[in-house]
Symmetry: C2
Subunit: 447 residues, 2 copies
């Protein structure tokens, strides 16, 4: 609301500047940068790649960066026998959205843009960006931010450990135990192990500790991912202690129905899974307690002196577009949800005719954002190999030309594997093709 | 709100009609972003501030962000009795340089620019940027990079701890001791304490350990800052062990003569002190040993999954400008050195007539970049209060309306204080004024 008003005001200013300077337009110093960006964006890559300003130069021109399994100077060549790569959570499913909103989402950086350490807010945070993030949560209805503090991080990645640090008791005789429910996002363990301090250490899966008497001591820090990565379930804290970090990276209408605004004490979000800009390394935490906020802020200052202000400007522009288009024809959640829902639906259809594989069960749910019951649209398929001999599901898939993320990475059984549904359409098309071929072999085998 | 949105739409339509009348250019989707950036850059702030795209909006328009001690909507008002702030190392002395190179240093980001985690190089690093950083070192002659590995960090800040981690021995019975020579940059201690792990801990000033037998065990990690912050001296390792982190943040012709290319095993640099973009949070380490490189890389992946790709694109553009203009009329080192040299020379002149204060001794030196003997141009003055009663030099200055960084922050005597010479011209002008007034009082007192 304030965002719309803000952009209106900006536009009004621009407009009056333009009126006063007719017929001469005011583009001067940014003209060659604009021409360069457009020229490079116009390099033809056959719809299977794109050229970037900072791409590798060949004969002085950035080359097309092709989607997986495509090659050639213009990415027109489909590589034979190339495995379908469904491993990473690279959120390129939103790339076409931003291409469709090219004019509104572009940003021009002057060479002298905001060089100082100082920003408009405290602790290196842009006041306008913080305001627009609150507006975004309000417009989507996925989190309560009133009266909460917000900390920015270089991706949610940096915030994971910042919050473990912030929640660790000071001067405790034993380190706090950091736990998560399997299947869980591997970085929780890897990062806690990397930084393991005298104050905290990784202690494995939450379920081990449910009945332990130590749990009542409150010296636990529990990661809860909701919707869960990899299986998309909406989860709650198991230990119910006071130190719970809710990772809500996927709590957006792209990936799940939103039953109600999340209202926990510590919540983490990331641009990667809402705008799709994994590259920008931008996340934020919404924090209720002031002391936890102060400690997380201290961590951010000493670790990196805050988040790139360049990225803060870019994300501000993206959030403004999302707000301006909210719930309309060009809405990002309408686009995102439609894309992931169709991908899940197609994969489900393929797997439904299989006896060898199964998927996690997800049901249609009422979504307060869409104001109706919506079909599942998870970021990942959590595939199970059902046959006795298929002990290593990821290996079974690999044999069939599909790269998955093995269940063991999530401290789950190797009978499981994660398949990403949020990469490029090329990746998903190839995945569906290969899964279809794999499942159709079952029929042949059963004859 | 609906009304506002309606008129916003109408205005947008009118606005784009105006834009579409531009006759000659091949600019389309980036045009409104370019016009917006130029309109905001053109907001008049009296030469004592500037408006930014992501500035705080008042009536929908970004407000001028004024230099310290200036206020008013257009920053024209000099605040009476405002203290000269010479505290931080905010490198705004280079802001005019980029304003003078507006056309070549602007960058246009499309909304879909490089969204993926993946970049052109390994470990989230831009191949073109890495190449241009090597070219920059070669052109300046300040570091050997041939056959070395390069790791990017969110400022040199993030790399400090990444390298402490990378240099820590694994499975040692006692933690490695991290040390630095006083006066030293406070972050070495603060960050090591924040992250103190079972593998390393902060152990204070290097000199304490020179004759200790433990030093011979090699279980020390020594920070060496050269030129030193705060006093600008070119330093070498004191312990001479194998685990030395050379912080060369200031080893550029802006701040020092370059006697020879630095050639140590582990060297850190930061954009903040060469391009002046503290805000971008971009630094790099040049590393000889592959295992150290691998561990630092692992740290960068788990801590933040690399550095903002937005920032990598922006820094690439800045480095390209620096290389294109190298040693010419528009050279950044010519600009930077001239600025800092003049500031130092003026301050030295003021202090030379004082009995109460003294500055660090710096001599003219032969510089391989300028190919001649050059006068000192340090980033900071390291001021000493010489009179017996002036035990707390920073307090003496504060009394006279000057904010400095106290000697104690650098684990040095409180008879010292650091004065920044790299902030805006307004800051330095006010500092010189106040120092002049303070020194002239000595004459009065001595009558």
């Amino acid at each position: 609301m304030g965002g719309a008003k803000g952009s209106y005001g900006q536009l009004l200013l621009l407009f009056s500047l333009f009126l006063s300077r007719r017929p001469q337009l005011t583009i001067s110093w940014s003209e060659s940068a604009a021409a360069e960006a457009e020229a490079i964006a116009a390099i033809p890559c056959s719809g299977h790649g794109r050229a970037y300003l900072d791409g590798i130069l060949v004969d002085g021109v950035p080359t097309c960066e092709c989607n997986t399994c495509y090659a050639g100077a213009d990415c027109s060549q489909l590589l034979p026998d190339c495995p379908a790569d469904a491993d990473s959570g690279d959120p390129l499913f939103l790339e076409p959205y931003w291409q469709q909103h090219a004019a509104s989402s572009a940003v021009v950086f002057s060479g002298w843009h905001r060089m100082s350490y100082r920003t408009t807010g405290d602790y290196f945070i842009s006041v306008e960006l913080e305001k627009h993030i609150r507006l975004l949560h309000e417009a989507v209805g996925n989190a309560v931010t009133d009266g909460r503090f917000i900390v920015f991080g270089s991706g949610s990645t940096q915030l994971l450990n910042a919050l473990v640090y912030a929640l660790s008791p000071e001067n405790a005789s034993t380190p706090a135990s950091v736990v998560a429910t399997a299947p869980y996002y591997a970085l929780y363990k890897l990062q806690t192990d990397l930084f393991d301090r005298r104050e905290y250490e990784w202690k494995g899966v939450t379920s081990k500790w449910v009945n332990a008497s130590v749990a009542s001591m409150g010296n636990f820090i529990e990661f809860v991912t909701s919707p869960n990565n990899p299986d998309g379930r909406l989860l709650q804290s198991v230990l119910g202690g006071s130190s719970v970090i809710y990772d809500h990276a996927y709590y957006w209408p792209h990936f799940t129905a939103i039953p109600a605004p999340a209202d926990e004490d510590v919540m983490i979000f990331t641009a990667s899974k809402v705008t799709g800009h994994a590259s920008s390394r931008f996340g934020w935490a919404v924090i209720k307690d002031e002391k936890v906020y102060q400690k997380a802020t201290e961590y951010m200052q000493l670790n990196t002196m805050g988040v790139s202000r360049d990225t803060q400007l870019r994300v501000l522009k993206l959030v403004k577009v999302m707000l301006a288009e909210m719930r309309g024809e060009g809405g990002i959640f309408e686009f995102g949800h439609k894309t992931t829902r169709e991908r899940w639906s197609k994969l489900s259809k393929v797997i439904s005719s299989s006896n060898r594989f199964s998927l996690q069960q997800l049901s249609p749910l009422y979504c307060t954002y869409f104001k109706k019951i919506i079909d599942p649209s998870p970021a990942y398929a959590w595939l199970k190999c059902e046959m006795e001999g298929d002990v290593d599901c990821s290996a079974v898939l690999r044999e069939a030309g599909i790269i998955s993320r093995a269940g063991a990475v999530f401290e789950a059984s190797s009978r499981y594997a994660r398949l990403s549904l949020i990469k490029t359409q090329d990746d998903v098309d190839l995945l569906l093709q290969r899964m279809e071929a794999l499942v159709s072999k079952e029929d042949v085998a059963s004859f």
